[in-house]
């Protein structure tokens, strides 16, 4: 290595370390936040071009499956309509009973702050997105982020004054206490480097099948109970294994996120060991 290149590389190395320290101290936040804000409209535009194109390509690829999927969806739609009618009727009856018994609702009203996606982390090793709400908007680290349809997206892991980074549930470092809605089987939903979700520690004897809905459980205190995470797509493993191997598909389309909701009425708690 020539001495000129060596000196230059050493200089850049020192500069990089200085930038890392300044960045960790939050002193470069205006620069990083400014860059994200300035490029946000372009990123938004590019996503708007990419998403329909990707959807169209996917449809072309899966054209043979679409017809049968359409039939299945029609049947499911019909069933869901019937369920909605039945549940609406049940809700009315419940409200009347609550009024009669003067019982408070089990859960306080949920409060949200709406946020727009600014950017996505460029690395394939980290599943994180930047949103345009930060400390000064009342956000705190650990707050849960959901889609407009209220399915789980992730939690706020890095908080700055004007923006924050949300680590997605598909990140390899993400772990969400969860349960299978139908059988109440408990487990932990974890992400991976292949951006797939699986639910770990589901007892071998638990009843889990394809299509079951996985929701958050309140265990651990980091997520409120009952938020939808996804649907079971594969149940595998051997009978002699201690736990089932369960793959799930997130309900939220995590690669096409635009507007999100930060759940501000739920304060996560870090439970101490007894």
């Amino acid at each position: 290595v020539s001495s000129r290149l060596g000196t230059w590389t050493l200089g850049i190395f020192v500069l990089s370390l200085a930038l890392i320290l300044l960045s960790r101290a939050g002193l470069l936040e205006p620069i990083q936040g400014g860059a994200l804000s300035i490029t946000s409209p372009v990123q938004h535009g590019l996503r708007n071009v990419a998403d329909p194109l990707a959807g169209w390509l996917s449809n072309v690829r899966d054209v043979s499956d679409i017809r049968s999927e359409n039939d299945d969806l029609r049947a499911e739609n019909e069933r869901l309509k019937a369920d909605v009618t039945r549940l609406s009727e049940g809700q009315v009856q419940l409200q009347e009973l609550q009024k009669l018994l003067q019982v408070k609702q089990s859960y306080p009203d949920e409060e949200f702050i709406s946020a727009n996606v600014l950017a996505r982390d460029p690395s394939n090793l980290k599943e994180a997105i930047a949103i345009d709400q930060g400390k000064r908007d009342g956000l705190r680290e650990g707050m849960v982020v959901v889609t407009e349809g209220h399915s789980v997206v992730g939690t706020i892991t890095k908080l700055f004054d004007s923006y924050s980074w949300v680590t997605l549930i598909t990140d390899p470092n993400s772990a969400v206490s969860a349960m299978v809605q139908e059988s109440r089987a408990q487990g932990v939903v974890t992400g991976s480097y292949s951006r797939k979700l699986s639910i770990e520690f589901v007892a071998q004897g638990a009843s889990v099948k394809d299509g079951d809905v996985v929701i958050t459980s309140a265990i651990g205190g980091l997520y409120p109970a009952g938020l939808v995470i996804g649907k079971v797509t594969d149940v595998g493993g051997n009978a002699q294994d201690l736990f089932k191997s369960v793959t799930i598909e997130p309900l939220a389309s995590l690669s096409h996120l635009e507007t999100l909701l930060v759940l501000t009425s739920f304060q996560p708690t870090n439970l101490e060991t007894p």
């Binding site: 020539s2 890392i20 990123q43 996503r47 996505r120 460029p122 394939n124 090793l125 994180a128 480097y193």
Partner: protein
């Protein structure tokens, strides 16, 4: 002027990498377009320009990342060090040399990011990270090299003529 062009090119590549490409993952990953451009620039236009352009590429990547800004600059710097071996001409053409540089520097880049994640207290599964993210990213980045190589190559006609004259 060439550095302004480089900055604009890297910014555009970074935006495509983070907004457009995630809709079209190849082997489950997105190519590191900025790193590929920096490697192409280094081989085609020489080390002198690369000494400015490579840190600039790291800055463009760092500005849009959840990591501290300097991490990406550190992670791209090995391009410069590896390019020191370019005069040895281990391959018959600049293009093959570029492919090798993209592959190696992509591996190094992702490993530096992994170390940075580890330093920030995150758990790193080395084997699964390598097989599912690091290696596929290096391969996919190599696949995306030809069009990006052509962009830099076609913009360097004057430089190539000057070198031929010398």
């Amino acid at each position: 002027m060439r550095y302004v062009f480089a900055f604009l090119l890297f910014t555009l590549a970074a935006l495509l990498q983070t907004s457009f490409m995630p809709a079209f993952p190849v082997f489950g990953v997105v190519p590191n377009l900025v790193l590929v451009l920096a490697a192409c620039w280094t081989i085609i236009r020489g080390q002198q320009e690369a000494m400015v352009v490579v840190p600039l590429a790291g800055l463009c990547l760092g500005l849009g990342a959840s990591q501290p800004i300097g991490v990406a600059i550190l992670a791209v710097m090995p391009i410069l060090l590896i390019s020191e071996f370019a005069p040895l001409r281990l391959t018959p053409s600049n293009f093959l040399l570029t492919l090798a540089l993209v592959f190696l520097s992509s591996l190094v880049y992702e490993m530096v990011v992994l170390i940075a994640l580890l330093a920030q207290g995150e758990t790193v599964g080395w084997l699964s990270a390598f097989t599912r993210a690091v290696l596929p990213t290096a391969i996919v980045s190599v696949l995306f090299t030809p069009p990006l190589y052509w962009i830099i190559w076609s913009r360097s006609e004057g430089l190539r003529r000057a070198r031929a004259y010398v």
